[in-house]
């Protein structure tokens, strides 16, 4: 394939409910998104063939683009483009249909090889159903029953450093052999088990598992305590995903023939594009994709990429779980009007059982957005717990560290270092007003210092992630120009003062040279408009007791980026405390909503 000759690209993402297709073309020397189409995913009766949904989505693209992409029989994509301009030059796809890749991982020590194994699986785009470890407190028979019950798509067996003891990881293999796990898809096909543990134990593992499962080997993901080596395991997981799991899913063998590069699991592709952006722009990034059933969070801090999947936090199928986990009070605190508990519970459960419905009344929208804040908050909490440094390693300390004895395994996600927050998924990408997306992200993530806020316009990061594998330039061009919508910049000092006390004094030099001076009071939210593409120079002086990242009361100067919302001065403090009294809380929420012009006035 000659990359330079590629001018027309088709990319699809086969989600669990919808298959989304985008057409990217080179126009005036740069790659741009031309149109987008979608159709229901077809992996279940009555149409058990994923390619049907793909062809339907492409048919919509074809219709909208006003040119032919499918052959006359509508059974295949024309590739490469012919002389009449029919077809595309490149076709790529991602998939999370059928529930994505569901894995179980094992390690000897839960917080060491167990966590590394979970990070390897998550980074490959999997959902981790359970982390089983020698020291997880469960008895062997409980572990065996758990494996039998879960029926994962794949097991990642790890544990032990190279040259270390072999007996613990062998015991894990014996437990897997005793459980004799069956694959989720298809009777009579062997479950893939990937071994990525102590290399000295490999022959013992083979002895115990060969013939019982589809056993494969890769490098140890934790060769020493101080080192994590996740990439070989991640690549092998993606390969096994294609060879075993996908090839048993309905229609996938055909789809694999249609694509020009391997199909990637959707979250894996999103992770790739996030890393690329972080590397290219030199930014620390947190990204979130909130779906109906799951919420994925991605982060790149200190050059380390982490991903977490909160399998049961979402806005439709899982909305009731968000409610159950967050609790009534946490949901209610974001609802700017009084509401009866029974009524709220019924509304949430009705959304769960009819997940495709949408709020048609303003108060229903507010309730959904309250749930979204909690779904995002809970998912981010899980992410922070997962995105940690290696635990249990030796730390070099000097006399200077006497008063700063940090533990190993601290979270890498430091909000003060965060440059860009990227939101995507229906509730964020399709919120009626962009202010609502910005506010949901601010309330859920509580960014600190100066943070740029963006949303993915139509959630095309999966397609761009897989495209970046073959055509990085095209993927980056579309990401910059068509994918991200810049909402603005959130300026939020940490600390707590009395309501109404001066929290921050800001001097903003606008692009036209004019200066705006602001005195922000504690407990307030304010917006200064600054359009997309423009930057301003800001001097931000927090009051003593507040911190912009450089220390208590220390002023910072920085360039701040505009967006469709503008510069958001959030001096409500960190941590954010809402009034305990319902009336006061509602009044406060209403004043913030008004400040950001969040909802229609009536």
């Amino acid at each position: 394939m000659d990359i330079d000759k590629i001018e027309s690209i088709l990319a699809t993402d086969c989600g669990s409910t919808t298959t989304k297709a985008i057409l990217i073309e080179k126009r005036d020397g740069e790659f741009r998104l031309i149109v987008r189409g979608e159709a229901p995913t077809t992996v279940e009766a009555p149409v058990e063939d994923v390619t049907k949904g793909v062809l339907n989505a492409v048919a919509e693209v074809q219709e909208l683009a006003g040119r032919q992409i499918l052959n006359d029989a509508q059974t295949d994509i024309i590739k490469p483009r012919d002389k009449a301009g029919r077809g595309v030059d490149l076709y790529v796809s991602t998939s999370s249909a059928g529930g994505g890749l569901q894995m179980m991982v094992t390690g000897v020590v839960k917080t060491m090889s167990g966590e590394s194994a979970a990070r390897a699986a998550l980074g490959a785009g999997a959902i981790v159903m359970d982390v089983m470890a020698t020291n997880d407190g469960r008895l062997p028979h409980q572990k065996i029953q758990r494996i039998r019950h879960l029926r994962p798509d794949m097991i990642l067996l790890s544990g032990g450093v190279d040259g270390g003891t072999t007996s613990h990881v062998t015991e894990l293999a014996e437990i897997i052999a005793a459980a004799s796990p069956k694959a989720r898809l298809g009777i009579g096909y062997e479950l893939p088990v990937l071994y990525a543990g102590n290399k000295d134990a490999a022959p013992l593992i083979k002895e115990r598992l060969a013939g019982k499962v589809a056993l494969d080997f890769t490098e140890n993901l934790r060769p020493t305590l101080e080192k994590e080596n996740l990439m070989p395991a991640r690549h092998k997981i993606q390969q096994l995903f294609l060879e075993h799991v996908m090839s048993h899913a309905p229609g996938y063998p055909n789809l694999m023939k249609m694509t020009d590069v391997d199909i990637m699991p959707t979250p894996g592709a999103v992770g790739d594009i996030m890393q690329l952006i972080s590397r290219r722009k030199g930014l620390t990034v947190v990204g979130v994709d909130i779906g109906g059933a799951t919420t994925d969070v991605f982060s790149v801090f200190q050059g380390i990429y982490n991903k977490s999947v909160s399998a049961n936090y979402g806005m439709s199928y899982s909305i009731s779980n968000v409610f159950a986990e967050a609790g009534l009070e946490n949901i209610m605190r974001w609802v700017p009007f009084a509401m009866d508990e029974r009524d709220l519970r019924n509304r949430v459960k009705n959304k769960m059982i009819r997940p495709t419905t949408i709020p048609s009344l303003l108060e229903e929208l507010m309730v959904e957005q309250a749930c979204a804040r909690e779904a995002l908050r809970l998912s981010f909490e899980q992410h922070r717990a997962l995105a940690v440094g290696l635990k249990g390693i030796q730390q070099e300390r000097t006399i200077g560290d006497v008063f700063d004895q940090t533990m190993t395994g601290q979270t890498l996600v430091n909000l003060k270092d965060l440059n860009m927050l990227i939101g995507s998924g229906g509730v964020l990408s399709h919120a009626p007003r962009r202010q609502q997306s910005a506010m949901m992200m601010i309330d859920a993530f509580l960014p600190e210092g100066i943070t740029q806020l963006t949303v993915d316009s139509i959630f095309m990061m999966p397609q761009l992630g897989v495209l970046a594998k073959v055509h990085e330039q095209a993927a980056l061009s579309v990401f910059d120009k068509d994918c991200l919508i810049y909402l603005g910049t959130c300026i939020s000092p940490t600390g707590v003062l009395k309501d109404g006390a001066v929290a921050l004094e800001a001097t903003i030099t606008m692009p036209d040279g004019s200066t705006i001076k602001k005195v922000c009071k504690f407990g307030d939210l304010e917006v200064v408009p600054l359009p997309v593409g423009q930057t301003a120079r800001a001097r931000l002086k927090p009051t003593y007791g507040m911190d912009m990242g450089e220390g208590d009361g220390v002023a910072v100067e920085a360039e701040v980026h505009g967006g469709v919302v503008g510069l958001i001065f959030d001096t409500r403090g960190r941590p954010l405390n809402l009034p305990a009294d319902d009336g006061e809380r509602i009044k406060k929420l209403q004043s913030w909503n008004a400040a950001l012009n969040l909802y229609p006035k009536n």
Binding site: S16, T17, T41, V43, E44, A97, G98, G99, P140, H141, I144, Q145, T166, S167, H168, T170, E171, E174, I175, A177, A178, A179, S180, K182, I187, L204, R208, A293, N312, Y317, S318, S320, N321, F323, A324, E341, R342, D343, R345, N346, R347, V348, K349, N350, M352, I353, R354, P355, T357, I358, P359, S360, L361, L362, E364, L365, H430, P432, R433, P600
Partner: protein
């Protein structure tokens, strides 16, 4: 676009109902294609491998794992009885032996000289699959199970609790708006599947269990009561395995919502008949809804009414499935082609409907109505 595909729940008076009855793993199928079967009949059975119990012999005997073969009394593949000695040390001149006794009856499946562990497996667990509905074997999946087929009434619910239950149907509510309260549950409802109207109260459900009612079909159920009933807040709608002594099929949703008149009338017309219900619900990719099946004698393929309704057109009967007017039945008045702004300011595809009860016209998102499939 003048029509739209919005699948709804099936409420069909006469239809052909088919269902796979499969084993969790390969086994024996006891019936053949064309056989008449009853709901209670065992159509396939198998044995699941027994549960396993690992025992670390090396730890118990205080020896190195590689030494345990020297002390094993039983070898791999041997049958063992609970309490039977499976390993022992020679002791000193025949005294001071340390013994390891089997903790279960079963088979010694594996001995590991790396971990010092042995695995004992209990005898296989028998698993049986029943017919579920009175009908005919439409297809046999060799070693796996069958597909049962029957003609009769089929109603899909929206949410349920509990598994498969077969019992005679008893109408308790007199109208679709009646609330089923504890006072309505009588001793003679024991062993029956009872039908309520717009709501079943928490007290009614408790009383129904006490009386021995097998199942409840009702329009609405309160989410708060569900939490109290289950003892936990249901997070994800995957149900069917609850062991509460009753199966519940909710036809409309959470809260007090009148049962659709058509559903109510259909059930009323079959009072006393043998009915199969299943509360199992999975609202995920591959959605499973709770169901009510009433096999009817003498119904043939030619009697089957309607087909799969694939489109919403002007005149189509729909149910509103979200506020405002949740649960109301309406007729499609028009399907405007262009997306339009609704009260939330979202721009969505809309449908104009006319409420059957009042004749009032409303504009709603298409996503918030479902076709009443006939």
């Amino acid at each position: 676009m003048a029509s739209a595909y919005t699948p709804g729940l099936k409420i069909v008076g006469k239809t052909r109902f088919e269902k796979d009855r499969k084993l969790p793993m390969k086994g024996t199928v006891h019936v053949k294609k064309g056989d008449r079967i009853t709901a209670e009949m065992v159509v396939a059975s198998t044995h699941l491998p027994g549960n396993v119990t690992p025992m670390n012999i090396a730890n118990i005997l205080g020896c190195e794992p590689k030494e345990i073969m020297d002390f094993m009394v039983k070898k791999q593949g041997d049958q063992v009885q609970k309490g039977e000695v499976i390993a022992e040390t020679p002791g000193l001149w025949g005294f001071f032996k340390t013994q390891v006794q089997a903790t279960i009856t079963g088979t010694l499946e594996n001995v590991s000289t790396v971990t010092g562990q042995v695995i004992l497996r209990e005898p296989p667990i028998p698993v049986e699959v029943h017919g579920y509905v009175d009908g005919e074997v439409a297809e046999v999946y060799p070693d796996e199970g069958i597909r049962v087929a029957t003609y009769g009434t089929f109603i899909q619910g929206i949410f349920g609790i509990g598994g498969e239950v077969v019992a005679p149907l008893k109408m308790v509510a007199r109208s679709p708006s009646d609330v089923l309260d504890a006072g309505n549950i009588l001793p003679e409802h024991k062993g029956k599947i009872i039908v309520g109207g717009s709501l079943v109260t928490a007290a009614a459900l408790t009383k129904a269990i006490q009386v021995g009612v097998k199942g409840v079909i009702v329009g609405g159920y309160d989410a708060f009561d569900l939490k109290e009933f289950l003892g936990y807040d249901l997070g994800v709608a995957i149900t069917g395995t609850e062991d509460k002594g009753i199966t519940l099929v909710v036809t409309e949703g959470f809260g007090k919502i009148n049962m659709a008149k058509k559903t109510f009338d259909l059930l009323a017309s079959h009072e006393g008949k043998k009915t199969s219900i299943n509360g199992a619900t999975q609202i995920r990719a591959g959605v499973i809804r709770p169901e009510v099946v009433i096999p009817l004698e003498g119904v043939k393929e030619t009697d089957v009414v309607g087909g799969v309704n694939m489109g919403m057109n002007p005149g189509t009967l729909v149910r509103i499935i979200r506020q405002p007017r949740f649960g109301a039945v309406a007729k499609v008045a028009s399907l405007p082609e262009k997306p339009a702004h609704i009260a939330t300011e979202a721009k969505v595809r809309i449908v104009e409907i006319e409420l059957l009860e009042t004749g009032e016209r409303m504009i709603l998102p298409r996503a918030n109505v479902e076709i009443i499939e006939e």
